[in-house]
Symmetry: C2
């Protein structure tokens, strides 16, 4: 991840506020210690015709991947922890709309690497639940209640 | 219109590139000398939940109006010529995606105030037609062909 010029950081903050998303999902995945993967990302969207701006953003930021969806939308996704921390640190002063999502992402990113107990893990799940309010997502189904119930039933030693 | 801090100008450029529009429409209006009103504007969109960021933008920019549409989208529209020229001048260095639309808007704004002949007017209409390409608009129906045909038929002395 590059060090950004102030105006590049401000531009990216504006672009993200206008048409991007900061999110953390919980994906069921038995390969993970607590049966769920904590999957945070930062995504910038554009219709295919705006692909050039996503390429430019990737160049400025220095990380992430662009993919073209079948519905004609291009997505530039950053999912790497270090890049996300670095990016949020640099654009935070300029964010207006998504400041809370960014703070929450930082809190999750900082905790997720050192989770040793189920209690700690469930604390982070609770934190992730608060995105529901921020992103007005109705589709989020892997929340604290579901995850904690499933961990109770799990025979894995955690 | 305010003088913007560099990072505010860059933020606005990013927001506009991400989720805004720069456009010029030709509206049939017999009150105007050439039967059509040249109606340029710059619009920032957000869902209702993002209204706060539009209010903040309006505060930073110092001009324009916010309205809530029936479909739940909030629009912050700037239609005043001086404000648009001033804003474009300040954000131009930071625009990536909408640089061409912004240049075209400037060309139209600078010419539209001093149109005395039909020939001059139709030149501007031709300029406006080039937005079709830039904005990929298929709905635009008041184009050069229609306007010039209508002016031919018009009994107004222009």
């Amino acid at each position: 991840m590059n060090v950004l010029a102030e105006t590049d950081a401000a531009y990216i903050a504006g672009f993200l506020d206008g048409d991007g998303s900061i999110n953390v999902r919980l994906k069921p995945n038995k390969a993970y210690r607590f049966d769920f993967q904590i999957a945070p990302n930062i995504v910038f969207y554009q219709s295919k015709k705006g692909l050039s701006v996503l390429n430019r953003l990737m160049e400025i930021i220095g990380g992430g991947k662009i993919r073209l969806r079948n519905d004609g939308i291009a997505e530039y996704t950053i999912g790497d922890t270090d890049t996300m921390i670095n990016l949020i640190n640099q654009i935070m002063p300029y964010l207006i709309l998504k400041k809370d999502q960014a703070s929450l992402l930082m809190a999750v990113l900082k905790r997720k690497e050192n989770l040793t107990t189920k209690k700690e893990f469930l604390k982070v799940v609770k934190l992730i639940d608060s995105y529901k309010q921020l992103n007005y997502s109705k589709r989020r189904k892997n929340d604290f209640n579901l995850v904690s119930a499933q961990l109770e039933q799990s025979k894995k030693e955690v």
